[in-house]
Symmetry: C2
DNA sequence: TGCTATATAAGAGCGTTTCTTATATACTTC
DNA sequence: GAAGTATATAAGAAACGCTCTTATATAGCA
């Protein structure tokens, strides 16, 4: 695979952006330096990176695809309020036994735990607005 | 919420369909009996059911939204080949400890394990085509 | 330098989801 | 039972994300 200015910029943007960006967010992000990169190039490049194992596509309940440059084994917290996705690490999760009936009927290649709920910032936002005695 | 013929048909279709259908699949499914139901009604109704906790939206890596009427605590197998999603149950998964640093910064309301790999049918399809000595 | 393979930009096209508006239906009140 | 009110639906338009097509540009190679 050729290294082009666009691809460097896209990969750098995914790393810098941090919060599991969408193709559209990457597109806007790199527009500061390279205003002529098309959204199609961003999408195609992210897809190529995914095929190469350079980044993951984050699980989600619809909405635009989000990308994740973290290649360590990790898991996700999804905030129901703000939509933020936070990485976390857990040996217990990584080593969790897989039920025998699953092992018989399925070759497991990846394991991901998804916890949904409310993140600290949304908790605090809630406290600030609703706690006056 | 009012019970209408459309809503009954849509809920019945989700239950009968079994394999985590999309709105479009539900739309086609009920068209046999009710050919004038619009895709918008199907989408809106599925969304309402989701808000009421009657069904879940399945986690996925893009593509159309898929719905799940199974309200028991369960987890999912995703086949990378055919895209099928299979429910499974696991006490180990349900009781898996949550890391303390997560508990401090996040209120966990739902827990879902997602295993990705190859399902039995795709395994067999592969054997059948590729095993002749 | 010329050739070939790969990459990109721009616009078109497609599928999914949502919005808008008019009509239809069920429930409530009198 | 009739009129009024709130909710639901159908149809089409629109928005959005993603992919495809085609022409152009670029890098690597002979």
């Amino acid at each position: 695979m050729r290294i082009t200015p666009q691809r460097s910029a896209i990969y750098k943007a995914v790393l810098e952006h941090g919060d599991h960006p969408t193709a559209s967010e990457i597109h806007k992000w790199i527009a500061r330096d390279m205003p002529h990169v098309s959204i199609d190039t961003v999408n195609r490049t992210l897809h190529s990176f995914h095929d190469m194992g350079l980044l993951n596509i984050v699980e989600g309940e619809g909405g635009p695809r989000r990308f994740d440059p973290n290649t360590r084994s990790h898991h996700h917290l999804h905030c129901d309020r703000c939509g933020k996705i936070i990485d976390f690490y857990s040996d217990a999760a990584d080593n969790m036994p897989i039920p025998p009936e699953v092992q018989n009927d399925f070759i497991v290649e990846r394991k991901r735990i998804v916890l949904s709920g409310i993140c600290r910032e949304c908790m605090n936002a809630n406290d600030a607005s609703g706690s006056g005695t």
